[in-house]
Symmetry: C2
């Protein structure tokens, strides 16, 4: 075999091998956040040494698996129609986001355990930006509150999606129920509060008594 052609072929082999390892890591870690490097190498059909040749640590492998899942998620989310009323657009976005988060909840746990928080945040930058823009648009439309920072609202929605996925995974919330809970909760969080909100924030339109001044 002439060495001149070995380079490109080796690179192609390496790329196939990497893709197989990342795919196996995604599957394994989505089932068990504590899946070992050995489990993943076995599932990918490669040797331990081959795997470590591409990923020096388990953390590198977890990061590659999460990045791959985020890329696939971005493809799905970028096709969600965000036009029109921001409240309805948010419901559509949350419905799609929730199933993506649910699919990767074990993988997220693996990533939380293995990666620094800053790196996790970078990997979530694109979906966070999408929600941020949608909230800003809803504020322009006058349908979302402006009394709390947008960055806080984005984070709250993120924590609620993650929490919902954890509750679902633990069997405390049924899969068919999660979308409704997440969307109803998100709506309440983003809705414009009544202008005369007292400390207790009574809902005037619902007929509750206003006890404050």
């Amino acid at each position: 075999m002439p060495t001149a052609s070995a380079g490109p072929r080796r690179r192609a082999d390496a790329e196939r091998s990497i893709a197989r390892i990342v795919s196996a890591a995604r599957t394994a870690l989505s089932g068990d956040p504590d899946a070992s490097v050995d489990d993943i190498a076995k599932a990918a059909g490669v040797g331990r040494m081959t795997l470590y040749g591409h990923f020096r640590t388990r953390a590198e492998l977890v990061e590659a698996a999460l990045a791959d899942a985020m890329r696939a998620g971005e493809e799905a989310l970028s096709s969600v129609d965000l036009a029109g009323d921001a409240r309805e657009a948010l419901a559509r976005l949350l419905e799609s986001s929730w199933s993506l988060v649910a699919e990767s909840v074990a993988l997220s746990i693996a990533a939380q355990k293995a990666l620094p928080a800053g790196r996790l945040r970078e990997l979530h930058a694109a979906p966070a930006r999408r929600v941020e823009e949608l909230i800003a648009r809803g504020q322009d439309q006058g349908v979302f509150r402006t009394d709390l920072p947008v960055s806080w609202l984005v984070n709250v929605l993120h924590y609620i999606l993650k929490g919902a996925a954890e509750e679902n995974r633990a069997g405390r919330v049924e899969t068919g129920e999660v979308g409704r809970l997440v969307i109803a909760t998100a709506r309440s969080i983003l809705a414009v509060p009544p202008p005369d909100a007292t400390p207790g924030h009574p809902d005037v339109s619902a007929g509750a008594e206003v006890s404050g001044p």
Copy 2:
């Protein structure tokens, strides 16, 4: 030294040693969730072997540190006045809870990494029950929503408190600001939604247009 009196004295020594180790673990893990057993032994002024004599694994030590923090937290929370309007009681409870959560955010991260989810949940049972009872009382008073399960609402508040502590720790939300954000968000989540809530949940009292039927 007569062996007859060695038993009680040894037990007293052991208890003092355990208390010192647990206290050192709380301090160390509250600063760095990845603090090692060696760091903790050194801070407690005991040898590695002594520490392992009391706690067989790092996870056992993390659990003891978290249990100790939760006990102290329970003492603080049990003195919060929960009488009167449930909305105002909730604000007082969240204000106190938030600072406890903030103090132990690194310790919580350590516990999440080291302990099974079920054990973590058991350790949080008492504060969760307190919030659950308060929400039920607010529902009886007609000031909290009844269209979402109480268990979901308790979990959402938990995830928001944890999220707020993480945001604060990462320097993205100022300490003086967290209480207001958490309380305003919790109020919106628990408030009775308008009876004619359309998909977008427009807030009629705030003058937003109702686009639905």
